[in-house]
């Protein structure tokens, strides 16, 4: 079972991200479970959502305590909320930012985790560019597909079409695709 925890703030589409991730996994014939942290949601407040992906029925209902991957939609949370709690040593981290891990004050992570699994992408900028709204969740899913390989980009696109339509869907697909390519290129460069 692969467990993803998504952190962000209310209004950034954190819950939608988890749901769409589960739909993407479903499109690949896998079982997936997505649920929010059920806190008092208000715009700007820290929000957490969870997504589990597996090949058999998922029965577990507890919040994700030991994530395999983290998606951090808002870097201002980094030193406010313990977003990294329980992350596995070989876990994936994808942060929505145009800074590097070092610039974010997370140099220690680079040392203690697998560097190629720690990525950033300017998802908010991509969202603004392609969709016209600063909601980073969908581009981050594209980037996540690239860094983790747990879902394919095509599945993310299917999930986008499931949730959105028309121009909004097109824009989201473009943003997710560009995020995917950016992260993929960075990973290839790191390997080279």
């Amino acid at each position: 079972m692969f467990q993803v925890r998504i952190h962000g703030r209310g209004g950034q589409g954190v819950v939608t991200a988890a749901e769409m991730l589960s739909v993407a996994a479903f499109e690949e014939g896998r079982h997936a479970q997505a649920f929010p942290s059920f806190g008092s949601e208000r715009t700007g407040a820290p929000v957490v959502a969870f997504c589990r992906i597996a090949d058999t029925e998922i029965r577990l209902r507890e919040p994700i305590m030991v994530p395999d991957a983290l998606i951090i939609q808002d870097p201002t949370l980094l030193h406010q909320v313990d977003v990294f709690a329980g992350l596995r040593p070989d876990g994936y981290i994808l942060i929505n930012t145009n800074k590097s891990f070092e610039e974010l004050g997370l140099a220690d992570f680079v040392k203690s985790h697998r560097a190629e699994r720690l990525r950033t992408v300017s998802a908010t900028d991509l969202a603004l560019k392609h969709v016209g709204r600063p909601v980073p969740n969908v581009p981050l899913l594209g980037g996540f597909a690239a860094v983790s390989g747990i879902i394919r980009l095509e599945s993310v696109i299917k999930a986008i079409n499931d949730r959105f339509s028309g121009k909004v869907a097109e824009g989201n697909i473009a943003a997710a695709t560009e995020a995917y390519k950016i992260v993929q290129m960075e990973m290839e460069a790191a390997h080279a």
Partner: protein
């Protein structure tokens, strides 16, 4: 057809397939997505021949359902927590009159203190009102139970409550197999009322009944639930033959055949318990002989089925999201009635109140203690004794201690800094 959708959405679609004629709803977290989806379906006319009424309170919701059902319409509503309590007079009225209303209860704690998260206190507060109460373990079972509920309610002329964990199930996206309209039509015939308001055959419904006949009328309600004990497993079998899966019934057992210790619970927590039990059964973890009994039909309470499931074990743990203030467990009390004279050791564990997460970690430690019979009769799982004792000390020290909730929230720290 397989779908990846929110639990609420799954329930709404299942209810729509049952061809409801009157839906009346008042919004309350965490049921809102169900009634919103149904409202949308009626408005965009994908659900036809159905009146959707926006009522002004939950009391009105149940009352509108009573009127509609008495006039021969298949009626549905949904609520939770405070809303269920607000309609209690009408809830008793519906079962007293024998009207086959189906209601979803998106289980949520009852205040004060106000709490929007999941536990079973709402449904269980109504365990004696005469409604049949079914508890869903997964979103698949939740949608399936609604289809079975309409059939059961209408056959018996008794209302049915389908209970599903608020947020944990209602707001979770997971895979469900949504039936087709043909399948549902094959299983659920149109509503044929036992009593109906009809100018062609006038009757008076709701007359006063004196001491001469009241006991008999109440006994008949009890007799109906005894009939339900027979009918519920049959309906599940019939369901299986039409829809191709095992859903509903009185109880579900998991690895109980050779178990020394059996954990009993209701609702979504059963999934987490099963994962815990599977891990504990692994040879490298001790190979413990531990099993799980899930109660699906809480009312009528399946005394015989529970006794049968526990007949070979040594001890049982009832893990419930409910508290009988002043005694201990609610479900546990019913289970104890089932196993009277069987010589089993039983433990009550109150867990998950107000939405507190129940984790594999906590359950593992708990079950290990249970297997060693090293548990109190009543245990409050993961209770913060430090905070409780601090408050008790405070109350001993002075009179004006202020609202309890505020004091405790200050003691456990700022909630916002935690993840969940």
């Amino acid at each position: 057809m397989l779908k990846q959708i929110e639990g609420s959405r799954a329930v709404a679609e299942a209810v729509a397939l049952c061809r409801p004629e009157v839906i009346c709803a008042y919004p309350i977290s965490p049921q809102t997505h169900i009634v919103e989806a149904l409202g949308e379906m009626v408005k965009e006319e994908t659900l036809t021949d159905c009146e959707y009424i926006n009522v002004e309170s939950e009391f009105a919701a149940m009352s509108v359902a009573i009127g509609a059902s008495a006039a021969g319409a298949r009626s549905y509503t949904a609520t939770a927590s405070q809303g269920l309590l607000f309609m209690v007079e009408a809830v008793y009225n519906a079962s007293g009159l024998g009207l086959p209303i189906v209601m979803t209860v998106a289980n949520r704690a009852i205040g004060a203190p106000i709490n929007i998260w999941n536990d079973h206190s709402d449904s269980l507060s109504q365990r004696d009102c005469g409604w049949i109460q079914l508890f869903a373990e997964t979103n698949q079972e939740a949608l399936d139970l609604h289809i079975q509920a309409f059939k059961l309610a209408e056959e018996l002329s008794m209302p049915v409550m389908v209970c599903m964990d608020g947020f944990i199930l209602t707001h979770a996206y997971e895979r469900v197999d949504m039936p087709t309209q043909e399948q549902v039509d094959a299983y659920l015939p149109p509503y044929e009322p036992r009593q109906v308001l009809d100018p062609n055959e006038p009757v008076s419904i709701g007359a006063m009944v004196g001491p001469e006949a009241f006991t008999e009328v109440r006994y008949l309600a009890h007799a109906k639930q005894m009939q339900a004990l027979e009918r519920i497993p049959q309906l599940a079998t019939e369901f299986n033959s039409v829809f191709g899966r095992d859903s509903g019934g009185l109880i579900h057992t998991y690895r109980t055949e050779d178990a020394d210790t059996i954990v009993i619970a209701m609702g979504s927590v059963l999934g987490t318990i099963k994962d815990t039990v599977d891990a504990m059964r692994l040879p490298e973890n001790g190979g413990h002989r531990i099993g799980v009994l899930g109660i699906t039909s809480y009312r009528p309470f399946p005394l015989a089925a529970v006794a049968d499931a526990l007949k070979n074990c040594k001890r049982f743990v009832v893990l419930e999201k409910s508290l009988a203030v002043g005694i201990g467990g609610i479900v546990a009390t019913d289970v104890r009635m089932a196993v009277t004279g069987m010589g089993l050791k039983g433990f009550t564990v109150v867990a998950g109140l107000g939405g507190r997460a129940i984790t594999v970690k906590s359950l593992t430690a708990l079950f290990e203690k249970a297997m060693r019979e090293n548990l109190d009769l009543v245990t409050f799982l993961d209770l913060d004794w430090k905070a409780v004792n601090k408050q008790l000390e405070r109350e001993k020290a002075r009179r004006r201690t202020g609202p309890v909730a505020e004091a405790l929230l200050r003691d456990v720290g700022v909630v916002g800094a935690r993840n969940y």
